[in-house]
Symmetry: C2
DNA sequence: CATTACAATTGACCTAGGTCAATCATAATG
DNA sequence: CATTATGATTGACCTAGGTCAATTGTAATG
């Protein structure tokens, strides 16, 4: 399995491409690897690319005014990470994107994506569907935050990301579900009994 | 200004269509009006259409386990409302969508949208861009909920939806920013002094 | 094996925001 | 103009979850 098998499979789930189109798509990507804890992006910079995770795992987060980390998204293998707010509105982002394990990625810059969309319009559909799903999930996350308790959100997290429960530290999980590490620890304790 | 001027202008901001394409698009829509408090959709039903607001205003919300209303989105004139979670994953939604003023809409069913996307592929781009923006805003909302206090969220709300501040009742605003009406009332009081 | 570093646990205490119920507008309706 | 809804305000009290700091794993590094 070479560098591009995974991403081509991912794309293939939504649209079918000729060999030339596949080659063209692949030619627009470049690979970039990161070590655990390395930053793919820092607050304040403009995000002008899509990043596809082929190995490892990545988180995006922001710092609240107390300097606490608040995780917005977690992107495992076979997912894209983007600071959409920065990407779409072309202004400096307030997100950090950081590898939480040694990670390999494929980068598609905004310009290359534009070329791609122009030359292979099927990708319009690919990105539309991708974003519609991501948006739906994001809406669900909002309703969860607005209507569930911390314990319920934790339950859901465990069901939705069973694989991550092992990979992520409690601190990360706490940050993702929106509680302090101390409180998550207490929740776990009370569940154990 | 006829029924379709607004929606065609909206579409025209993103893609340019021939007259025939415009006519075809418009032919797929049907108009539907709702009185204040009428439901466009109820919890448990499958949402299989996009709804464009040409007049009035609409909210989507869910009920938490205490039966309290939690507003997910507010859609004023020139916006689409959809229960994406239900629409995208084709399962019964948990959202209510209700008119908060007398409202006129144009409905595009899922099937018609499919036809549209097939026959006028430019609409792939329209919906991609639309969703990318909505998604970015939705991500921002999550980071706001995770990192701002109730007072800060209220500030932001006033800046982002100045027009709604007059239209919406305090209860609705409270529900949207994620606090109780009683607490919002207290916040306002302390700001007045 | 000693040490450094960092994650998890826990206790004591705190606070933002919720709950419930009563009271006070306000405005629409008979 | 009396009445009935409905929204806003407010007081008394409550609780989920946060804060801070000390303590205890645990695992990687010199």
């Amino acid at each position: 399995m070479n560098d591009h098998t995974l991403i081509l499979e991912n794309v293939g789930k939504h649209i079918s491409l000729s060999e030339e189109e596949k080659d063209y798509f692949v030619s627009l990507l470049y690979a970039k690897d990161f070590q655990r804890k390395e930053y793919l992006q820092r607050e304040g910079s403009n995000s002008n690319h899509f990043t596809f995770i082929t190995q490892g795992c990545v988180k995006s987060y922001l710092l609240d005014k107390r300097g606490e980390e608040r995780i917005l998204t977690i992107a495992p293998v076979d997912w894209w990470v983007v600071d959409y707010m920065s990407f779409v509105f072309e202004k400096p982002g307030n997100l950090f994107i950081q590898a939480i394990a040694d990670t390999s990625t494929l980068v598609l810059t905004k310009e290359k994506r534009q070329d791609l969309l122009r030359k292979v319009p099927q990708f319009e559909q690919y990105f539309r569907v991708l974003t519609e799903r991501a948006f739906a999930v994001s809406q669900q996350r909002i309703t969860d935050i607005l209507s569930l308790t911390a314990a319920e959100r934790f339950e859901k997290f465990c069901i939705q990301y069973p694989s991550l429960t092992g990979t992520l530290s409690q601190q990360q999980i706490a940050s993702f579900i929106g509680v302090t590490p101390a409180f998550l620890s207490r929740m776990l304790k009370s569940k154990r009994k």
